[in-house]
Structure formats: structure tokens, C-alpha cells
Amino acid sequence: MDIQFTEEQELLRSSVQRLLRDRYDFDARRKIVASEEGFSRKQWAAFAELGLLAAPFTEAVGGLGGGPLSTMIIMQEFGRHLVVEPFVETVVVAGGLIEQAGSDQQKQSFIPDIVAGTKLWALAWTEKGSRFDPATVTTTARRDGNDYILTGEKTAVISAPWSDYLIVSARTSGHRHDRGGVSLFVVDCHAANLDLQSFRTIDGRRAAEISLREVRGQLLGKEGEGVGALESCRDRAIGALCAEAVGAMGELNAATLEYSKTRKQFGTTIGSFQVLQHRMVDMFIAHQEALSLMQHLSLSLESTEAGVSRLASGAKSRIGYAGKFVADQAVQLHGGMGMTDELNVGHYFKRISSINIQFGDPAYHVLRFAQLDTAA
């Protein structure tokens, strides 16, 4: 099984590659991360212009119909360049949820602005103590006319400081851990009584703790069916994050191999030491297997196969551990240089660490993979 990419997909890949090569080298990225906002609206506009923000959506909602495979292609390249702009949050996660669960009116009013690059979104699903379980929700929502009124706290919401809208999970019925009774809401970030406390993430992004006190929101999808929608959304997000991790691993392996061929100690290149050769072979194998799983998952997402959610958890866990191994060893083999902020290696390490938290860590997903087997 190896994906034979269509001409169109190859074109997508080469155009993303060209854009990032020209405009998103490591220095450009460093400046973006250090800027006041922490991301670049100019880059975002360039992504929109190239059609990247439209790529995965169906043609029916104004997209290019590229589906999960286009997400995979884009995210692999984003991983190679450590792109910080919120493609996953806005396009894959929020856009995907709106397309999947939204009313026609919601699709019409929100998706065109996402595609055009004029509005940014974030997903607020985690709470204190929820860890990685989308059903653990204490934020409440009560009906008020056509709207709902939300009250509660959301935690570690990536991209929230940049966003125009949030999708918030809140409980319309049931108890703290019940799968039923959780619903999703669209909330305007400028709504009254919505407070954000921003902070920096280890991988140079911005996130926020969010407090909602009687904040007005509109229902997205069916009342009480939020957990199922979040789980499908997570599967797609995992597809994107796995591709990003694979892109980052490829760069780490290339950089490490190159370094081992040029760095000399004891009168020879360190790549001539057998212990390091074997280490790099294991890094190569880890990357190859991750790449294969990434493709397998993206194809399954595309065909919306049964069991895709179990595969998504399996891939998140397996690629997570593989990424961690590659990142650890890339730093180790670069020695002190791998520890510096100056070299890109440490930044890939941090991005992989962060991917391994987003939407569930490898330990969470290996357990979910096991549990879904028992359920079958």
C-alpha cells in the first residue's frame, strides 16, 4: 500500500513546498513566533490565496474537495517548516465540525470566511480535570430563545488568543462524565462576559484559559450529540497532526544524518560509530512506519471506513511514540547544539512534544485503541 498521488495532489504538494521554501524558512518563522501576535496574518492570507484553506472542504460548501488526503499533504509540509498558523484549529477542526454538524445557514455564514482567510477559529473542549476525555464536561448551557447561555471554564485552548470564534462544548443535560448531554456551541470571541488569559506554549504558539459567565452562543449540531461530533472531529485532527509529526520527523532525521556525516570527533565523523549508525537506522525505521500509518489513516478517513476512530487512536499513539523517539535521539546526536534555541532541532522536538499532548497523549490513545477492540 503506497498512495499513488494524482496530478492534482502532486501539484498541491509542490505549490505548498514552493510557498514555504520562499516565505517560511527558519528565520522567518522565528520572527513570526517572536512577534506581538505570535502568528502571521500575511502568511495566512498567502495560504488562502493558494487555496490551502479551501482544500479539504467539499465543493458543495465552496471548498476544493481535496478531503483528508489534501490535509495530509499540507500538514506534512507544515510539519517540515514548523508552521505556527492555526490551519488545524481553523480549517480541519472548526471547519470540519461546521461542515459535518452545522446547519445550512451556519455553513453558509461561516465557511466562506474560513476559506477566504478572514476569520480564525479555535476549539474549546478541554477543562480542568478532563484530561483527554471529550465527555468530561462541566461547562453548562441553558436554552434562551433561539440561543443558549454558557457558563464554565475551558483550559489550554490553542489559538484562542488569535481567534474570532470559538466552538465550545457544554453540557445541556446529564452529569460530569456522561457521553450524552454534551452539545457544541459557536461563541463569538468578543461576546460579553467571555474572558481570556493568554499564555505561550512550548512550541511557540499562543493558547488561553477561557472563562465564560453567561455567554451567549448558538447551537452547532444536535443537542446532546456533541461527544460523537467531537470524536469524529478528533479523528480528522489526528490525521492532520500525524502528518505534521511525520513531516517533522523527516526533517529531524535528515538533519541528524547530515550532522553525523560532518561532525568530527576522535579524528573521524561521528556517523562512523556503529552505536550511532544503529540509532539512526532505528530513527529511519520509526519514520518509515509512521509515514505508512499516516497514509493508512488518511485513506481510511477519506473512505469514512468503520473502525476509523480506532485506527486514529492507534496511529496517534504509535506515531506519537515514534516521534518522541526520533526527537529525543535527534537532540542527543546533535549534542549540546541540539539543546540550543538557535538550532531548529530543538524546535522540532518541542513541536512533537506538543503534538503528543494535543487531542490526547500516546498513552491515552493506546488505551482507547485497546478498549475499542474489546467493544467490537
Binding site: 478541554t126 480542568k128 480535570g129 484530561r131 483527554f132 476525555d133 483550559t155 489550554a156 490553542i158 488569559q197 493568554s198 499564555f199 505561550r200 506554549t201 512550548i202 493558547a207 484559559e209 568530527k264 570527533q265 576522535f266 560509530f273 552505536v275 550511532l276 529525543d328 537532540v331 542527543q332 549534542g335 549540546g336 541540539g338 539543546m339 540550543t340 534555541d341 538557535e342 530543538g346 524546535h347 522536538f349 518541542k350 512534544s353 506538543s354 499532548i357 494535543q358 497523549d361 498513552a363 491515552y364 488505551l367 478498549q371
Partner: protein, 393 residues
């Protein structure tokens, strides 16, 4: 686990414990003492230990050491690390101090040793260079004799806390013609000398611990040469042996495991399947610590009977650093989504950090501890040492 102590040694242990409790400065109890304290704050405990006469456990009595047995030195190390006190600056006390009293002359001993003990002089280590990391013997920083001085030119790197240093001890090349190990000298250089520049290196955790140090035509008086010219490699190896002894880090690992247990208890519900995973992972790392601690105690007992521990230090370094990396990783995992956040440096109360206090340093510790398997002779080099010196391969 404890050593079997004589009544006198047990009384000594109680005395150390009480002294720490009564005297350790409250203002040094900050979230991350390695990055959050000013130079003056770091020296508070140093000065208290100096006044007590406990600052340099390794040193012989005649130079200001307390004259402890190996067992007492170990007890002191155990009690101070278990209590989480900031150890006195290793570069001064455990590294250059012993080199000076072992290989230095009387004038050097009289000049430098008292100022190390009092905390007046802060030392840093000029060993690694951009081209000489694991292969230290290839250092290229040059010292050329010019009358009563050496003229030093070169570039040292990974120099820990050089930003605070008054002095640097350096490996310099004094004879380029012979084989690398034979042309090295050990030179003490005043950081205030014209031509010395310090450039910060920021690491992946955002902190400023290490530096580049550049030497441009720096004039160093010949009386700052330790021992004989071109014998520096012998002194350097002696010093590296001291650097690695304390690397088992049992006290620190034990404290971090206790904290990890508290975090897991607070963060993860017992009916969450992840809970059992954590319990298992923590138990495994606890057993790793137990095995290493038992080994350390066995080596200490052997040393007390006069048996040379050989390259035991390499074993301590490998296992001690791997264990601490595992603990910081587990801690980072335990705080879940808050693991995305990292404190900004320099640390300030103005920067918001999400989540409970106990998680605020988890990310930076996790990132920072990647250095442990690299510095002080990488773990690959330590394995080479054991392969060669113990296994005879």
C-alpha cells in the same frame, strides 16, 4: 534505604538534618532554583555552609574541609539533596578547588582556596569548545608564552553560569606539535581580563544557563598556570572524575518522585484507565532508583573500606540521568493539557501561567533535562568508558 550507621554517624545525620531545617534560606525556595535565583540569592546557602565549615566536604581539613569520613560525606550529600537544598557551585567547590589543592602551588592555594570557601570567587569551567565536545583532548584554545604572561586566544562553549563568574579554569593548548593529550595546560583566567567576552546561549527551555566565552589576546600571568605546562590533561581527567561522582542524583530523583505522586493523585481520577498506567510507570522508576541507590550504597561501603570504585561514576552518570529524564517526562505527562504551557524567561509574576502551581515548571524541567544525557561526557562516552575499563573491550 539507609546505610547501617554507627550511633555517632546517626547523630551526625540528625545534626545535618536539623541544621538544614533551621538554616536553609526561605527565599531560596522558588519554583525552579536553577533558573529563578539571582547570583546573590544562590550564594546565601553557600555562605551559611561556609560559616559552619561544611561548604567543602571533599576537601582535606588543612585547606578548610570538615575532615569527614567517606560515610559522613555521603550522609551529608544524602541529607542536603533529599531536602532539596541548592548545592554549592560545583565548578568552584568540587571541581577547581581539589585541582588547586592537589596540583597547585602554595601561593595558588593561599590565594584561591579561601575565596572559594567564602563564596567570594565564582568559578566557571572552560573545557568544551565548538569542535571539542566528547573529544575534549582536541581543544584548540591557544596559550602562547610571552615573557611573564600567556597570550590566550580561542572559544569555549557550554560554559555554565559564566555570566556570574569571576574566574574560569581553562584547558588551553600550549604545545601544538605533540599528540593532543600531551600539549594541554590548565590555566586560571580572571574573567575581568581585557579580551574576555561572554555571549549567552539560550536553551530549548528558554533559560540562560550556558554561554560562549571568547578569548582575544587575553594576557594571563604565568603564575596562574596549575602544575606543569603540558600536564593539564592529567589534571582535567582528575577533575572529570569528581564531576561524575555526584551524578546518581538519588536525593533529587526521590524528591521528584514524591512530587509526581502528588500530581498524579490530584490530576488523574482513580477510575481513569490512565491512573493504573501511571501507578505502574512510577513504580518502575522507583525500582530504578532503588537499584541505583543500592549500588551507590554498596560502592560507598566499598570506598569506606579503601576499595577503589573504578569507573562506578560512569554507571551513576548513565543511570542517574536516564532516571531523572524518565521522571521529568512522567511529570510532564501527568499534568495533561497544562504541559502545553511554559514559563517565559526571565521569570516574572506578570506572565500568566495556567493550572496548579505544581505544574508550572514541568515543561521547562522536561525540556532542560534532555541535556543530562549529553553533558559531563555524553552517555555514549560513559558506555565506552565502561566497555573499555571494566569489560576490557
Amino acid at each position: 534505604m539507609e546505610l547501617a550507621l554507627s550511633p555517632e554517624d546517626a547523630a551526625f545525620r540528625d545534626e545535618v538534618r536539623a541544621f538544614i531545617k533551621d538554616n536553609y534560606p526561605a527565599e531560596m525556595r522558588v519554583p525552579n532554583p536553577e533558573t529563578d535565583l539571582s547570583k546573590a540569592q544562590m550564594l546565601l546557602w553557600h555562605r551559611i555552609l561556609a560559616r559552619k565549615g561544611w561548604i567543602a566536604p571533599l576537601w582535606p581539613k588543612e585547606y578548610g574541609g570538615p575532615g569527614w569520613s567517606i560515610t559522613r560525606r555521603f550522609i551529608f550529600e544524602q541529607e542536603t539533596t533529599r531536602a532539596g537544598t541548592l548545592p554549592p557551585l560545583a565548578f568552584s567547590v568540587t571541581m577547581v578547588g581539589p585541582v588547586i589543592y592537589t596540583f597547585g602551588n602554595d601561593v595558588q592555594r593561599k590565594t584561591f582556596l579561601p575565596r572559594i570557601l567564602s563564596g567570594e570567587d565564582w568559578w566557571c569551567q572552560g573545557y568544551s569548545e565548538p569542535g571539542s565536545g566528547s573529544d575534549l583532548a582536541t581543544v584548540r584554545t591557544k596559550a602562547v608564552r610571552d615573557g611573564d604572561h600567556y597570550i590566550v586566544n580561542g572559544h569555549k562553549t557550554w560554559t555554565t553560569l559564566a555570566q556570574h563568574a569571576d574566574w574560569i579554569f581553562c584547558l588551553v593548548r600550549t604545545d601544538p606539535a605533540v599528540k593532543p593529550q600531551s600539549g594541554i595546560s590548565f590555566l586560571l583566567i580572571d574573567m575581568k581580563s581585557p579580551g574576555v567576552t561572554v555571549r549567552p546561549i539560550i536553551t530549548i527551555d528558554g533559560s540562560h544557563e550556558v554561554n560562549d566565552v571568547f578569548f582575544e589576546d587575553v594576557r594571563v600571568p604565568v603564575e596562574n598556570l596549575i602544575g606543569e605546562e603540558n600536564k593539564g590533561w592529567t589534571y582535567a581527567k582528575f577533575l572529570l572524575g569528581n564531576e561524575r561522582t555526584s551524578m546518581a542524583g538519588i536525593g533529587r530523583s526521590t524528591r521528584y518522585i514524591a512530587r509526581l505522586k502528588t500530581i498524579v493523585k490530584a490530576e488523574i481520577l482513580e477510575d481513569d484507565p490512565a491512573h493504573l498506567e501511571f501507578i505502574r510507570d512510577i513504580a518502575r522508576v522507583e525500582l530504578d532508583v532503588l537499584a541505583l541507590e543500592a549500588t551507590e550504597l554498596r560502592v560507598v561501603a566499598q570506598m569506606a573500606r579503601g576499595i577503589d570504585p573504578g569507573p562506578a561514576a560512569s554507571l551513576f552518570k548513565i543511570r542517574g540521568t536516564e532516571i531523572f529524564q524518565d521522571i521529568t517526562e512522567l511529570t510532564h505527562r501527568a499534568i495533561g493539557n497544562y504541559g502545553l504551557a511554559i514559563r517565559e524567561h526571565p521569570v516574572s509574576a506578570n506572565h500568566f501561567m495556567p493550572g496548579p502551581d505544581y505544574g508550572h515548571t514541568a515543561s521547562e524541567k522536561y525540556l532542560n533535562s534532555r541535556k543530562l544525557s549529553i553533558y559531563g561526557g555524553s552517555n555514549e562516552i560513559q558506555r565506552n568508558i565502561i566497555a573499555k575499563a571494566v569489560l576490557g573491550l
